[in-house]
């Protein structure tokens, strides 16, 4: 890739201005250093930013925003760079704003069960810090060891336990953010309801398009008295899908209900040695938590349902160590799949749970006809699929085929009544599929919202919400059932 430097004069001038507020080591500008920032966790999309800045204080972040907005320079925020939709993909003419150095836990309020944290704090670090108080922060994305809470808010991250405890939006209480021109605003608060628009919910999942989040008040939960997990092996993924529906239909709300297929089981087992059955077509992990009696009773009930649905074996964790090990395998499943192929492309669609078995069959058919293996890891309980398409970027045409297969899987999700993203965000990766999900008037409304927060369009441009023109071009290529998407838009 050639380094683009559209306006070297402007770049030098910007660096000079930023040097007044930031130390030299906090501004990266030579291509050798910028390269490491060219992508986030989705390495299929890469772009060198004009600059990377690493501010340490909110004041420094404000200075960066002010300087950029004065000059009309785009700003892309980045946390730990673990995102899987390219949300932190740099803009070639813009500044990549790393918030990794804002990583202090500012306050832990045991009585109100909240913590005030900076955006660069790691998700897991919050739970570790409050563990001595018997508390934890519930949303647990698989990357929780590394991902930052700021990124979690920007993407409205979920995780294994969001089936029972909700997504990020349900687990935060207030936010402080900077507008593109550097004004500090606070939204949310302690009360269950507050007058005015719910900007806290709007900012959550806004993918860095509306403001730069600099402080977050997260809710903390008491550790349940007991947690136990059952691991069921199936010789047929469809049976596992039926078991998921049966558990939910029985009125049980598991803390987590996860499914992995054979490829994923083998990859994860090679890393954690959790004792997963490597011959099984699929496994289900079903966690129950709460009071001891409640957990004991429900574990029996779940065991019965799993067996009735045709599980070849059902095990429960012998101790806490084994319970954590069962989950460690699941949480490491994405990167562990890296053991099976040099590259993978992680999808994030949701479907109504009742269609699980049907969709799995369709995905395996699509995988066979595309000639690319697909490993399935997903939050079965809430119908959030993560098909991992295995490919080899060094083989010509492989990436394109993987992208096409991915797009078809997402179209399938929409077709059966689901959505194109469950928790990873749209970013740059699923922007075309947004055109399938939303109508032109809805997208126009999204753009109006964006304009209200960011009239210059400087924050993370080109992500999350497609332009109508882009949809028209995408629709022209995907005529579905004889119907053209966005017929009202003029074609070129």
């Amino acid at each position: 890739m050639v380094t683009r430097d559209l306006n070297p004069h402007m770049r030098r001038e910007l660096i000079r201005t930023l040097r007044r507020s930031l130390p030299a080591a906090a501004i990266l500008h030579d291509p050798e250093a910028l390269r490491a920032y060219e992508c986030d966790g989705l390495s299929a999309y890469r772009e060198l930013p004009m600059l990377v800045v690493l501010p340490e204080t909110v004041e420094q972040v404000r200075a960066v925003l002010a300087a950029c907005s004065e000059r009309g320079i785009p700003v892309v925020a980045r946390g730990a760079g673990t995102g899987l939709s390219g949300g932190a993909l740099p803009n070639a003419d813009g500044v990549l704003l790393s918030l990794a150095k804002l990583n202090r836990i500012l306050e832990i309020d045991e009585h109100n069960r909240i913590a005030r944290v900076q955006p660069g704090v790691r998700n897991l670090a919050i739970s570790e810090a409050v563990a001595p108080l018997g508390l934890y922060y519930a949303p647990d994305p698989s990357s929780q060891i590394a991902c930052s809470i700021g990124g979690n808010v920007a993407e409205n991250a979920g995780g294994i336990h969001c089936l029972k405890y909700g997504l990020t939006v349900h687990n935060i209480q207030a936010l402080t953010f900077l507008t593109p021109d550097g004004r500090l605003l606070a939204v949310g608060g302690g009360a269950p309801d507050s007058p005015g628009y719910d900007l806290l919910a709007l900012l959550t999942g806004s993918e860095g398009l509306l403001g730069i989040i600099v402080e977050i008040v997260v809710k903390l939960l008491p550790r349940p008295e007991r947690a136990q997990v059952a691991l069921a092996a199936f010789d047929d993924a469809e049976k596992a899908g039926a078991a998921v529906a049966a558990i939910i239909a029985a009125g049980i709300v598991p803390a987590g209900l996860e499914m992995m297929d054979n490829l994923a089981i083998r990859a994860a087992e090679e890393y954690v040695h959790a004792g997963y059955p490597v011959d099984a077509a699929a496994i289900l992990l079903c966690e129950l938590d709460g009071m001891n009696e409640e957990v004991s009773e429900q574990i029996l009930q779940v065991r019965r349902i799993l067996t009735q649905c045709g599980a070849a074996s059902v095990r429960t964790a012998q101790d806490e160590r084994e319970r954590l090990l069962f989950w460690a395998g699941r949480k490491a499943a994405f990167p562990a799949v890296g053991r099976l192929a040099p590259d993978y492309y992680c999808m994030d669609g949701t479907i109504p749970r009742r269609n699980l078995a049907r969709v799995l069959v369709r995905i395996s058919e699509m995988s066979a006809s595309a000639g690319l293996r697909v490993a399935n890891v997903f939050h079965a309980g809430d119908g959030n699929l993560h098909p991992l398409i295995l490919y080899d970027a060094s083989r010509p045409g492989d990436l394109e085929r993987a992208e096409q297969l991915g797009a078809r899987i997402l179209e399938l999700c929409v077709e059966v009544g689901g959505t194109i993203t469950g928790e990873h965000g749209v970013g740059v990766e699923k922007i075309d599929q947004m055109c399938l999900q939303f109508s032109a008037p809805a997208l126009t409304q999204f753009h109006a919202l964006k304009h209200a927060f960011d009239p210059q369009g400087l924050l993370n441009p080109g992500k999350a919400i497609p332009t109508l023109r882009r949809c028209a071009e995408y629709g022209a290529m995907h005529v579905h059932g004889g119907k053209l998407h966005f017929p009202e838009i003029e074609r070129f």
Binding site: A33, G81, I145, P335, D343, Y344
Partner: protein, 417 residues
């Protein structure tokens, strides 16, 4: 990760190995979470994922500058990232290959070159280092406190067992450990003696070669390895059952002799055999019946254990020493962030003193928070580094166990200054 190597690298063994390592990386970023230097700098370039990128650029033909070298220099080689990596990326090996390529492209300034040359000329050589240490100890009184605290005080070795057993194991001659703390080898010999094993000191065995190797002087490092193989081989042929390593940094190196010398037709087979027979001391003890070793008096032995990176990440033996100590009656104080490096990391404490000190402060706070009577560890480098600022004695864990042996002169007093 997709990589397109330069033409000449594609035909070299190092190049091909680097490529296969790079292809295993999926860029998930989990590694940054447990990287000590990412924790300090919070910059992608000072974490494993960014360093992999820097090495990748060099392998793809970009000419490195001082910038790449700086970030590779800042890596401790602790390999915590390898423990965290779900994709199985052999980062440490990639870094070694990358460092040696960059070393050829970027000329260091004269001070840096001199420092590195001096370290390589003194530390791996037992006699030279011994003379230096004795001199330093003799002038200790007139040095500023910051310097004198770094000089380890003299401690006696105690006796070496005289009995000869049928079961024999070989010791590594070592480099700095015999001068700084001769008691470690002696204590090892005494404990093994109680288990019916003779530990043999073999003339000709010396430095394991790790220091030179990790400073980018690969050939020099491999020559040290060859010398050890030459010294051990007759004893292996005579039936010695293992090479016992009581410094985990050396252990990691000796266990890799086979891999590192695979391309040397003269040494490959013997190197592979030596690596097969190499055991960390904890592995040896874990397999023996330790009931003859005696136990500490209850409630008198609260210690904190620092598991060296070369033991937990390099050799994947975390928890083994802890188990042995607990069985012997020691009470282990809880230690936060056990996966983090203490900042010693071979010559790192001398070449990157600022970062090293920062990591040491963090590590000592974690180790001392549980009010232990002593700190135990398993590598001479960590031991000296921790002792320079610790408020309690720091000992090799085998010395703690040695003090519990029946009939030990200190009579159960496991800590002596």
């Amino acid at each position: 990760m997709q990589t397109t190597l330069t033409e000449d690298l594609r035909h070299s063994a190092d190049g091909r190995e680097a490529e296969s390592i790079l292809r295993a990386c999926v860029h998930c970023g989990f590694c940054t979470a447990t990287c000590p230097t990412y924790g300090v700098f919070r910059d992608e370039l000072d974490g494993p994922r960014g360093r992999i990128y820097l090495v990748k650029q060099v392998l793809e033909g970009a000419v490195a500058t001082r910038r790449t070298q700086l970030h590779l220099d800042r890596c401790l080689s602790c390999r915590a990232c390898e423990t965290t990596c779900p994709s199985g990326v052999h980062y440490g090996r990639l870094l070694d290959i990358g460092r040696s390529l960059v070393e050829r492209q970027v000329r260091r300034n004269i001070v840096d070159r001199f420092k590195r040359r001096l370290l390589r000329a003194v530390i791996p050589h037992r006699r030279r280092f011994g003379i230096l240490l004795r001199t330093a100890r003799s002038v200790r009184g007139i040095l500023p406190a910051a310097w004198s605290s770094a000089i380890p005080p003299l401690r006696t070795a105690g006796s070496w067992p005289s009995s000869s057993h049928r079961r024999k194991m070989l010791a590594l001659g070592g480099c700095v450990q015999p001068s700084i703390s001769p008691n470690i080898d002696a204590a090892t010999a005494r404990v093994l003696d109680h288990l019916g094993i003779s530990l043999l000191r073999v003339s000709g065995s010396g430095c394991c070669g790790a220091m030179s190797y990790h400073l980018g002087a690969h050939q020099e490092g491999l020559d040290f390895a060859r010398r050890n193989i030459d010294a051990w081989w007759p004893h292996i042929e005579a039936g010695a059952e293992a090479v016992v390593l009581n410094a985990s940094g050396c252990g990691v190196m000796v266990k890799e002799y086979g891999k590192l010398l695979a391309g040397d037709p003269v040494y490959a087979a013997r190197a592979a055999r030596i690596s097969e027979l190499s055991r960390d001391l904890s592995e040896v003890l874990a397999r023996e019946d330790r009931s003859v070793l005696g136990r500490t008096g209850s409630g008198t032995a609260r210690i904190a254990f620092h598991c060296p990176c070369t033991l937990q990440h390099g050799q994947k033996l975390g928890g083994v020493v802890e188990g042995i100590l607990t069985d012997a009656g020691f009470e282990l104080a809880p230690v936060a962030d056990m996966h983090l490096c203490c900042g010693s990391a071979g010559t790192y404490s001398l070449l990157q003193p600022q970062i090293s000190r920062q990591l040491l402060t963090q590590k000592l706070a974690a180790l001392e928070s549980g009010q232990p009577l002593a700190i135990g560890t398993a590598n001479i480098g960590c031991l000296v580094h921790l002792q320079s600022r610790a408020s309690v004695p720091v000992r090799h864990w085998i010395e703690l166990l040695d003090a519990c042996l029946p009939g030990h002169e200190q009579d159960g007093q496991f800590i002596t200054r």
